[in-house]
Amino acid sequence: MRHGVARFVTGFLALPVGLYLFYVVWPFLQAAGYSLTDWGGYSDKQQFVGLDNYLRLFSDELIRKAFWHNVFFLITVPLFTIALALFLAFLLNVGGREDKAGIRGVFGSGLYKVIFFFPQVLSLVVIAVMWQQIYRADGQGLINGILMKIGLVGEDDPITFMHDPEPFLGVPAVLWWLLLIAVWSGAGFYMVLFSAAMQSIPKDVYEAAILDGAGRFHTFFRITLPLLRDTVSVAWVYLGFIALDMYALVFVMTPSQGGPNHASEIFASVLNFTAFQKGQFGYACAMGVALAIFTILLAALQLRITRRERIEY
């Protein structure tokens, strides 16, 4: 019998573990190794250079720029997405009429939920190509077209969107426009998530609050929001990962994948450019390792900050 168990366990694990080791673990380990060399990627020549690549990261102007752009997305994407999603969930769940049974959800909330979720099932590439047309820098684009029609934007002075490196609040405009897409595509999903969490809060909690004379705003800010803390913090961590992954939008939408004039450069775009255009694989791997360390530290930090005692109900 014991023997049978060992054979069964090995048999079931062999293929998945093998595949995972070969296509995921091994590349990661190799990347860590290459990051200590000056390997160019196409030749077999490589020299051990120690931590040189890592030291170079600190003095690299482009990396510094990309780093701050990543930080920008890391803060703004979760912040705006969660704020909007919470607001929508709030309207959806407490915007309805009140009666003896308490405060109702808005009429048609089921339909709204279905619609708001649409962008979540579309791929980032579809969204990027679509928004490329929406953001066109002439009257043929959806936004410019509308603004020209109502006269807010002159025919020969359209908004340039992806080609606009001018800073707005200290951050290149192109990044704000990319942020808008991220919020547009993410808000619905998190609204559904928050909505489900709100509905799992027992009704008698609300009834007690209403008996105590709390209105809907009070109820929301004093009861619903604190009880949603767990869900919101999980959402924050997830959105953090998504924010690090804005590369699809940058890749498809911005001029020369990180432009104009490096205004939309992020870690991933610099890494890919360094590896596959400049042919500096060793250096690119060092960037990757740095990004990985950054990600893990960040995830740990976020989990630490948001951890708090759970409220059971």
């Binding site: 694990l13 990661f28 190799q30 990347a31 048609g108 708001f116 980032l124 991933a268």
Partner: protein, 320 residues
């Protein structure tokens, strides 16, 4: 889960009390007053409707532009009603834009990769969740670590590894469907194992023991008892994987580049990127819109049909 919708006539579900008249006590308790509530209700509708339009309008605009002529796209970019429906835009994107073959490639790859991901993922998760052996934790954490590491870090060696394998075994080299299937499976295992692991843990022991007493082998127990019991979890993670792999763009862009003369085995995401570049040069805007529409509609339709499962499937993934 209870939904908080209500019907226009004030008729509520059986669990709610319908009378719309209020006692003085409750009116005092509700604060804001009737007018305030009505205003808030109106505001909610307005804001929700505006956001709904912001989501639907661009999608509708893309679909409708796909049915216009190029001249119309340029002349009347905003109109949602084409003068005549130009179905041949779709035909052009399908054949000339090669969306058709990209579509076929994606379906081919996904059929294999989703099936294998589910099979291998639940096999590994099951063994890790329910059997004690040395190295169990190590393997579990190895799978888990893949969730935090950015894919870009592995890009360079992965590309090199696939290229080198291709020299010896061409069917595992770049631009091969089979290779892409295996890569998708490997990269989807982390989350699948993580998700199914927690699922298998919750299944009761008694049934497994009863099965063993009846003389079922370990693998028989898995396939005919435990796997069927894990169905809700399988559906969730299945939806997650189908959408995730359908939407995958970085791995194929990295690994599915056809060198001159080779057949184009690209998947739909790459096809769209290519289309957006090519049709841009040719100013074939309606063809581009048709391509986007074709990539978008199947997923949207599947979602609308199975919206309940898709929503709960995807949100369950975050909740864990």
């Amino acid at each position: 889960m209870s939904t908080v919708t209500h019907t226009p006539g004030g008729l509520a579900g059986p669990d709610q009390t319908p009378p719309p008249t209020r006692t003085p006590a409750s009116r005092a308790a509700l604060g804001g007053g009737r007018a305030g509530a009505r205003f808030f209700n109106g505001f909610s509708h307005l804001f929700l409707a505006v956001w709904a339009i912001m989501v639907v309008y661009p999608l509708l605009w893309v679909v409708m532009s796909a049915l216009k002529t190029d001249a119309e796209v340029i002349r009347k970019p905003l109109s949602l009603i084409p003068e005549r429906l130009q179905w041949d835009n779709f035909a052009r994107a399908w054949t000339e834009g090669q969306i058709g073959s990209f579509f076929l490639n994606t379906v081919l790859v996904l059929t294999g990769s989703v099936f294998l991901t589910m099979l291998l993922g639940s096999m590994a998760a099951y063994v890790l969740a329910r059997y004690e052996f040395r190295g169990n934790r190590l393997i579990y954490y190895m799978f888990l670590s893949g969730l935090t590491l950015p894919i870009y870090l592995a890009a360079v060696p992965l590309f090199k590894g696939v290229y080198n394998t291709g020299v010896v075994l061409p069917f595992l080299g770049p631009n091969s469907h089979f290779m892409l299937i295996l890569v998708y499976v490997a990269w989807s295992l982390s989350f699948t194992v993580f998700f199914m692991h927690s699922f298998f843990r919750t299944l009761p022991n008694a049934i497994a023991e009863a099965g063993m007493v009846d003389g079922a082998s370990h693998s028989r127990l898995f396939f005919s008892v435990m796997l069927p019991m894990a169905r809700p979890g399988l559906i969730s993670i299945g939806i997650f994987n189908v959408l995730g792999q359908w939407n995958q763009w970085y791995l194929p862009t990295l690994l599915m580049q056809s060198v001159a003369g080779e057949p184009k085995n690209q998947v739909i995401s790459q096809g769209l990127i290519e289309l957006s570049v090519n049709q841009g040069y040719r100013s074939d805007w309606s063809g581009l819109f048709a391509g986007v529409t074709m990539a978008m509609l199947p997923v949207l339709i599947v979602y609308i049909v199975f919206q309940r499962q898709v929503q709960s499937g995807l949100t369950a993934g975050v909740g864990k």
